[in-house]
Symmetry: C2
Subunit: 347 residues, 2 copies
């Protein structure tokens, strides 16, 4: 997760995608593509692409969810799968400070799916759409013998300049909305049971995993403040996603583990599973909170402002550092802490 490192150049031309890694692959594609054409402000490499049409700025994002890779029908009702598939795309729009407008769904239907099942899926999708003012305007449906597939595209709009991953500067504060680790705790409960954790705690973290809330209003306030410098949503884990900001910004960072926001339910489930909840908070992913940086002098004010306007707590968890310092996590005593990287889709 060190900024500036390129797995592709490390050992000559990599032959397999596993060797290249997800980030290396994206960089590889970005280098090979032609320079973007007319109206393209920002192409591949951020949460969403940015294009201009007349005096309007559009955000475009796509994400595919595959059964067996991103979800299991055994552990997730179809209603939740539909709701989450749209939510993770809406979250990409939120991560640029934009507002989602229209969605398209390419749906791959396995042979055992009934019409009632598909209705459940669309109902969940409709719940997310209604909550965030998104219209599902189109799609494509095909047979998918190997399992359910949902490929969503969301088109959003942003007033003024979208907030990119690349603007963090040494000295900036690092902030995060809501709490981290609950989605990973929920996945642990779904896969291994709740153990001795209270049913309420188990239910809360499962819900966090199944029904993430994209932070649209929060992202809009953060962007409009003018004091935020970079933003991303936490989909692959704090370590990985902060790594993306550092790579794009050419910077390092220090994160204080004791300051990470972790809710009581996640702590209770971690105790029941005999693990350290900090690992889930740092590497778990799928929280879909906003991770952003801001001018140090204005960070506390921005955090308060977001909470005031949206009700969502915001925590300062560290600072941006020069690139040479890399990404360091410090424990409560100020000692460096080794963190395993987050989710790599090819690993």
């Amino acid at each position: 997760v060190t900024a500036g490192e390129d797995p592709a150049s490390a050992g000559g031309r990599a032959g397999t995608l596993r060797e290249l890694g997800e980030r290396g692959f994206i960089d590889h594609v970005r280098r090979r593509l032609r320079p973007p054409g007319r109206g393209v402000t920002l192409g591949i490499g951020d949460d969403a692409a940015v294009v201009t049409l007349g005096d309007r700025t559009l955000l475009l994002t796509t994400d595919a969810l595959l059964e067996g890779v991103h979800f299991r029908r055994r552990t997730a009702p179809l209603r939740d799968i539909g709701a989450k598939a749209l939510a993770v795309n809406v979250s990409d729009i939120a991560a640029m400070g934009g507002e989602p407008r229209w969605a398209l769904l390419a749906l791959g239907v396995p042979p055992d799916l009934s019409v009632a099942d598909v209705d459940e899926l669309y109902d969940g999708l409709g719940e997310t759409a209604e909550r965030h003012g998104v219209s599902l305007v189109g799609g494509d449906t095909t047979a998918a013998p190997a399992g359910l597939l949902l490929s969503l595209t969301v088109v959003g709009e942003v007033e003024g300049a979208p907030l990119r991953r690349s603007g963090a500067r040494p000295g900036d504060a690092i902030l995060v909305t809501g709490t981290l680790g609950a989605a990973a705790a929920g996945l642990a409960v779904l896969e291994h049971g709740a153990g001795s954790a209270a049913p309420e705690a188990a239910e809360a973290v499962c819900r966090a995993h199944r029904r993430p809330t994209p932070r649209v209003a929060e992202g809009s306030v953060i962007r409009a403040s003018g004091t935020a410098t970079a933003m991303i949503d936490v989909s692959d884990g704090l370590a990985t996603d902060l790594g993306h900001i550092l790579e794009e910004s050419g910077a390092g960072a220090v994160v204080r583990l004791a300051d990470l926001p972790i809710d009581d339910a996640t702590r209770a489930v971690a105790r029941a599973h005999g693990v350290d909840e900090t690992g889930w908070a740092v590497s778990g992913g799928e929280d879909y909170e906003l991770l952003f940086t801001a001018d140090r002098q204005h960070a506390a004010t921005l955090a308060r402002d977001v909470t005031l306007k949206t009700g969502t707590p915001v925590r300062i968890v560290g600072e941006i550092a020069p690139a040479a310092e890399g990404l360091r996590f410090l424990d409560a005593a100020g000692r460096p802490h080794v963190v395993r990287p987050g989710f790599d889709h090819f690993a």
Copy 2:
């Protein structure tokens, strides 16, 4: 393929998607969804959705291609798979009379795909993009254990009103660009060999199958003429796609089989395979020609105008009729001809 028929209402609530059929499924989803929100001119059910942003009109379309369902790596080089995946989405924009602008790719990568393979895929995609002025601006990449997956989204723009499926009126002429059946002939060669057909003929139809040409300039001329009344691209076969126009327009049609444009290579391959090329032209699909209707008095002029401006031949193949007459195909002697329906993704 009869207009107005709804498979879902035929036998009560259908339990499986196979019973419902592809068109029945789309109608089912369309009925269940909330009414489209702000800025949505046209939602699910046409080649592309139509949304407005300020004084601009955007077209949005998505199509997923799955290995084993839409293509086989055994018969199609990855470069062609990439080129075609984007081409079929560009064709949906062309079918509304619009111009493609930006594309997004959600790519599912099977374990055996090398970086060189992915480069081939992107190179093919880039060829289609460059040819039609499309910028690939974003994407998502994920592991796909069951096979290669390409889910493309294209955003296009249209000046004035896009040409929909729903405007055909009894008496209108039915026209088609280019030729029909070559893609089906190509698939036959790829799957069963060329037989006694000349290598040049076999190569020509294989190319038609692997590298369809979306008719962007043609669609734009047809829309701008003001005399066309409905349009669709031929993806699932003339019978099925004309059926969509009839269903949306509440009309019937008569098509003269002897007037269908079929090229010499397709005829030669049909002879070699001992089949009637008319079947390929009517039910084969994947030609990605434009099928459109126009005011009878202006149809011949429009056909000439398209050819003059784009070089692409246009043929008048039939007329729109009242809904009660259904969709009829007449042979050279004017006798009704039974046509099997085209491709249904759930059948």
